[in-house]
């Protein structure tokens, strides 16, 4: 195998993707671990190694004396071709063993367009693709992550899904696995025992019959499993393992820096945002704890930049304290602080000014919609005035390029909302021309992604715009956002449509996925690999069309394909938010101390956790 591999590595691009051996990677003795788990990331190394969740679970599992975790990523197309030709199975980076030799293989579900890669990786490892075909010595295949909240299109391929935060539940899964192994239980008994763990969803124990429109006609679950599976949350974020000795890649990865997670969750309540629901409630880490963790990160990695990560870092209560602490302690070592997610307001720009010694990079803001009316519909909580203040102070401080993120195809959008995007972009450029000292380098980049309705959001019932509408809107913007200093980017509408199909689909999409894979679909999130005609063929085989699920409007009375999976925010609340959206009524952020009654805290018996011990008294049942 080694010689074969060496030959192959001499001929593929970026061979360092496949060799491992990075600083802080852990190679345990294979035979000394009672349970061997592989963390499988269904995309290339550079993307997978930028994922904090992987680093967290890698630590949690490898901290156990009785377990080991190794990593595997999707081989790029050139590597796949050569591995298949040479008969090499998909192998882990640490011990170069086939994925099929592990006890547990865990996939992370970060985005829908990686689903075909999951099937491909199973196939490359020689693991039967369908759960029902796996035998006693095949690995247990589990999956978790944001797309696990509607994993139905993947239901036949995955033995068990993990809902919610993984650092505690992973231990429960491994414990159950070990106990079953010692008693030499059957595969089905193991699955049954796993289904008894809170947060674990074992699809084989749930049967569905669907109506014509894809909603649920009849739903049956095995008597031994919960009818509704609730997500797992970590009660105290200061008290869970955090990887202060993360793996440092040799090669350039997407996020090539230390990641310090400052909080979990975001309560702004943007109505299109799934993360805002599935990571609730907000739990902030203590500033002292963060500074101590940063110290360890700096010592153990040698990276020169530390990123304060979360869904919305400028909302973190201790942000100023943490930033000044980091600057005090580490600026002499030339450690940069990065803020990945900025709110569109002057305060955030002040923070950015404080941390960025070099004003080369651009600042990014996400107004998401072009008019106040539509920003109220999505509950964005940002005004044009906020944005103009933010960009004005950015130009004053010396930044010469600004990126603006928008979404097109949001519910209730009209042409005047699109015109709003154009005029906002022009206003920002104008402000730059009036202030900026480097007028020649001035650049306003507008990115328009297409709205994808997602499960567990107030917009889960809403249809996506048709492909033709989306393309029309892109054209409208393309014609108007041009000229010196303006750049317009957009996403391929076909990809967004498939994303929406998979995000709101049901188990009937599983054979479509399988067929798409068989036709050669891989790396669908990569434009150089994406081939819509193959997807069309795959859908056609089963008498449906791409967009069938994306374009459906579900009603509040319908049982949705994911209603048995509970993210802790009540469906009643989501429906209320949906109504408020269409009425253009904003909803407050519970950080302010007033609970809007989303139901997360009572349902999971948990509290928000804010710096300084502040908490929000939840309304028991508002609805």
């Amino acid at each position: 195998m080694e010689q074969l591999l060496e030959r192959i590595l001499a001929t593929v691009e970026k061979p360092s993707r496949y060799v491992g051996g990075e600083w802080n990677s852990i190679s345990k003795k294979w035979d000394q671990a009672e349970v061997k788990m592989a963390f499988a990331f269904p995309d290339v190394y550079e993307v997978g190694m930028s994922h904090l969740g992987m680093q967290i679970l890698y630590k949690v599992v490898n901290d156990r004396p009785d377990a080991l975790m190794e990593r595997v990523f999707a081989p790029w197309v050139d590597m796949e071709e050569k591995m298949r030709a040479a008969g090499l199975p998909l192998f882990s980076l640490e011990s170069r063993r086939s994925l099929a030799e592990f006890d547990v293989v865990g996939f992370t579900l970060q985005y829908e367009m990686s689903f075909t890669n999951i099937l491909n990786m199973l196939d490359m490892a020689g693991i039967p693709m369908r759960s029902s075909d796996r035998k006693g010595d095949n690995p247990l295949v589990i999956a978790g992550g944001p797309c696990g909240f509607n994993p139905e299109p993947l239901a036949p391929f995955i033995d068990a899904f993990v809902l919610g935060e993984g650092e505690e539940v992973i231990n429960a899964v491994l414990d159950v696995y070990l106990a079953q192994k010692q008693q030499q239980c059957s595969r089905r008994d193991t699955l049954s025992a796993l289904a008894g763990v809170e947060g674990i969803y074992v699809p084989v124990f749930y049967q569905f019959e669907y109506k014509q429109d894809g909603t649920v006609k009849e739903f049956k679950s095995d008597s031994l499993v919960p009818t509704v599976v609730k997500k797992r949350v970590v009660a105290d974020v200061n008290d869970v393992p955090f990887p202060t000795r993360p793996i440092v890649p040799h090669t350039d990865v997407v996020h090539d820096r230390m990641m310090l997670e400052v909080m979990r969750g975001c309560t702004r309540g943007c109505r299109f945002c799934q993360a805002g629901t599935i990571y609730r409630p907000v739990r902030e880490k203590d500033p002292e704890n963060l500074l101590a963790q940063a110290e360890e990160l700096v010592r153990s990695t040698g990276w020169d930049e530390i990123s304060l990560t979360s869904l919305s870092s400028s909302d973190y209560s201790g942000i100023s304290e943490v930033i000044s602490g980091l600057v005090d302690r580490h600026s002499s070592e030339r450690i940069n602080v990065a803020l990945p997610s900025l709110r569109a307001d002057a305060f955030s720009v002040e923070l950015a000014k404080e941390v960025q010694r070099v004003r080369r990079s651009s600042l990014t803001f996400a107004p998401e919609a072009g008019t106040q009316r539509l920003r109220d519909v999505i509950n964005k909580g940002v005004t044009e005035e906020n944005l103009m203040e933010a960009v004005t102070s950015a130009f004053k401080a010396g930044w010469s390029s600004v990126k603006l993120y928008f979404m097109i195809g949001l519910p209730s959008e009209t042409e005047s909302d699109l015109e709003g995007i154009v005029s906002l972009a022009r206003r920002v450029l104008e402000a730059g021309r009036n202030i900026s000292r480097s007028k020649g380098r001035l650049r306003v980049t507008v990115s328009a992604s297409s709205f994808v309705p997602k499960s567990h959001t107030p917009f889960q019932w809403e249809p996506q715009d048709s492909l033709i509408e989306l393309q029309e809107k892109q054209r409208f913007l393309k014609q108007r956002i041009k000229g010196k200093g303006l750049t317009f980017n957009w996403h391929e509408g076909q990809v967004s449509m498939l994303e929406a199909d998979l995000a709101r689909g049901n188990r009937d999409l599983a054979p479509v996925l399988e067929r798409a894979w068989a036709l050669g679909c891989r790396f669908d999130g990569w434009s150089e690999c994406f081939d819509f005609s193959k997807w069309e063929k795959a859908f056609e085989c089963f008498g449906i069309k791409p967009g069938d699920y994306a374009l459906r409007r579900y009603s509040h009375e319908d049982v949705l394909p994911w209603d048995h999976l509970d993210a802790g925010v009540s469906k009643k609340y989501l429906a209320l938010e949906h109504k408020r959206a269409l009425d253009g009524v904003p909803t407050v952020d519970c950080r302010g101390g007033k609970c809007p009654g989303c139901g997360i805290c009572p349902s999971l018996e948990i509290n928000t956790q804010l710096v300084g011990g502040k908490s929000v008294e939840p309304v028991q049942d508002l609805l």
């Binding site: 030959r7 001499a10 051996g21 040698g302 080369r360």
Partner: protein, 228 residues
């Protein structure tokens, strides 16, 4: 000015990392070792680390050189020891010497390099036939290869850059030894020589060779530690 010339090896899994990756890895290793790195001035400071000659991806190096500048002096053996505890498997510092006075830059000094390429010996080639193939190859007045450039391909004669070429066989292995011009004035890559050699002189696959750079030299075959 606390300049150190460092000799290291880059072998095993580290042969797959690119030159840019190596720079990053050395910088991060130095930070982990808490060396007082000196940085360039200006808007975008980066550590003052420079290399003699980049290694092609996939080629090992047993006798590689870099210059490293520190803000405060350090005993060379201490530097070696500290850095070695913080480098990944496959990178190892062999020696460091403080550069007293002014030494010419590494990149400017390097003139040639020695390589060994090893492969499994097929049944139809023995030491004798290998040596005669190499002899015939070296008798050519010119060896034209197609070199990929940014603007397509361009013909290049690599014969003047091949200083020496020899070979032998031990057990079931074939070894090819090369001394090639390298550096800013003239530069021939070992893989280019092998590619030209297997085309018409030696029926083997270039992919099956494992290549190691065994030495880097200044003019007159002096070592890069020479002169200070």
């Amino acid at each position: 000015m606390n300049l150190y010339r460092i000799c290291y090896k880059k072998v095993g899994p580290m042969r797959y990392i690119s030159h840019l990756d190596l720079l990053r890895t050395m910088e991060r290793g130095s930070r982990r070792a808490r060396l007082p790195l000196a940085f360039t001035q200006g808007f975008n400071p980066h550590p003052r680390i420079s290399f003699a000659a980049p290694l092609p991806v996939g080629v090992q190096g047993e006798d590689e050189y870099m210059d490293l500048e520190l803000e405060s002096p350090m005993q060379a053996p201490v530097l070696v020891e500290r850095l070695n505890t913080c480098l990944p498997y496959g990178l190892e510092i062999l020696e460091a010497r403080e550069v007293k006075g002014t030494a010419p830059s590494l990149m400017g000094m390097v003139e040639q390099a020695t390589y060994v390429a090893v492969t499994i010996r097929p049944a139809d080639i023995n030491e004798k036939s290998l040596i005669s193939s190499i002899k015939a190859f070296m008798e050519q007045q010119e060896v034209i290869i197609d070199k990929k450039t940014k603007k397509g391909t361009k013909a290049k004669d690599i014969r003047p850059g091949i200083v020496k070429l020899s070979g032998d066989s031990k057990e079931d292995r074939l070894f090819i030894y090369m001394t090639l011009k390298t550096g800013s004035r003239e530069n021939v890559r070992p893989e280019e020589v092998l590619r030209a050699l297997v085309k018409g002189y030696l029926p083997l696959n270039v992919e099956d060779f494992r290549i190691t750079r065994t030495g880097l030299y200044a003019a007159g075959e002096r070592t890069l530690f020479a002169g200070f």
